[in-house]
């Protein structure tokens, strides 16, 4: 079973040289720590920066330089700042090649729910709806099941949707899955996790073809 860092590390393997990437809050943020050797990617944060760097050294925090998670950050050489309309022009106009974000539920048709639990607090969708409606390439990073042990990979989302039919790939603590028109196709297993365990943790249709390899780090 993967921990959060390993989920991020596995997702980092999906990065390709020259991509602009938007990382959501939580596990997705960790992806930046595992960029494979020899490839160059640039991170966009939707509050208005391209070329986002690591957290600042203590004492060098700048209140005017934060990421979409409101964390203090730094800017790399070649960075650019811009306003929110321009930022979402980049996102909506599909200039960002990969979006990684978390989810509360994903359906086997690619629907995603990650912004609202009716009757409980609603924090708002932020930029998530723009991101999922626009990006060609969306990877969801999440635990396979919720805190109550219920599957988060469903036939149909039960929570209010963030976007429809948009998720392409899911990396969980148990597996890598692709959304196909027949359902969740199991691509890789986490080290030591059996197909049966994944099957048991997946409410939606799970497609298993031949031997499913273990992830390689």
């Amino acid at each position: 079973m993967l921990d959060k860092n390993q989920i991020a590390q596995r997702i980092a393997q999906e990065l390709r040289d020259g991509w602009y990437v938007n990382l959501g809050i939580g596990i997705p943020t960790l992806v930046a720590n595992y960029i494979p050797e020899g490839i160059e990617v640039e991170f966009q944060s939707e509050n208005g920066i391209l070329g986002m760097g690591p957290f600042p050294f203590e004492g060098e925090e700048d209140a005017d330089l934060i990421n979409a998670g409101k964390q203090t950050i730094t800017a790399l050489d070649g960075a650019a700042y811009f306003d929110s309309a321009m930022s979402f022009a980049m996102i909506r106009g599909q200039h960002v090649q990969l979006t990684v974000l978390g989810a509360m539920e994903v359906a086997e048709n690619g629907d995603i729910a990650n912004w609202k639990i009716p009757g409980r607090m609603v924090k708002g969708m932020g930029g998530a709806m723009d991101l999922v409606a626009s990006a060609d390439n969306i990877i969801v990073a999440m635990m396979h099941t919720n805190k109550r042990g219920e599957s988060k990979l469903l036939k149909k989302c039960s929570l209010p949707l963030t976007g429809v039919g948009c998720v392409k790939k899911i990396v969980t603590n148990l597996a890598v899955l692709e959304v196909t028109n027949k359902g969740f196709k199991l691509i890789e297993r986490a080290p030591g996790v059996s197909v049966e365990e994944i099957q048991n943790a997946t409410e939606g249709t799970l497609i298993i073809e031949g031997d499913v390899p273990e992830m390689i780090f």
């Binding site: 944060s45 939707e46 509050n47 208005g48 920066i49 690591p54 957290f55 600042p56 050294f57 203590e58 004492g59 060098e60 925090e61 700048d62 209140a63 005017d64 330089l65 934060i66 990421n67 979409a68 998670g69 409101k70 964390q71 203090t72 950050i73 800017a75 700042y81 811009f82 306003d83 929110s84 309309a85 930022s87 979402f88 996102i91 909506r92 629907d111 607090m121 609603v122 924090k123 708002g124 969708m125 932020g126 930029g127 998530a128 709806m129 723009d130 409606a133 626009s134 209010p160 949707l161 963030t162 976007g163 429809v164 039919g165």
Partner: protein, 231 residues
Amino acid sequence: MNKVVNNVVDACEGIKDGMTIMLGGFGLCGIPENSIAQLVKLGVKELTCISNNAGVDDFGLGLLLQEKQIKKMISSYVGENDEFERQMLSGELEVELIPQGSLAERCRAGGAGIPAFYTPAGYGTEVAEGKEVREFNGKPHILETALTADFAIVKAWKGDTEGNLIFKGTARNFNPMMAMAGKITIAEVEELVPAGELDPNQIHIAGIFVQRIFKGAEYEKRIEQRTVRVK
């Protein structure tokens, strides 16, 4: 064309109960601190506030929420604020949530005389309820309309007497398009210089969009999530 007013009191003159106010900023970054404090002092009530976030309990728009001055919030993300949560769950506060990109574009549209535009964001979700859906290039989009405000209040880094503005880092965020969308736009700045001192090539928002400008007396610039690494 001199847009300079003496202070925050003069800048906020005419803001009245029931008005719609746009406020720049993302989280606590780039918010018009001095003007928000003045709104609290003025005690104007029943405000509709358009702002990406709602501040935290004791800073930013949270200060107006504490005083129950806000009737309705139009935002994309309103977490990190207990008083907000309480007022919302109790029904005291009306809340309209808008995808962040649509919020930005709707403000820009309001300033640019574009009454409506199509976007894919929110299609198939509750955001699309009651909105026209139309397909372009085989993909469904929803129709979103422009937002404007009685007053837009923005915070810039540098400004000149003509109202030209330059923002700093990611404190730019919603400030430029809200400056465009205010019937009256108030800009508070950290540094106010005479016309001619700013390079006309580096202006982020031209003075034509700004009616009043002043130097903020003080900036706390609070950091919401201080994250650092070890040297």
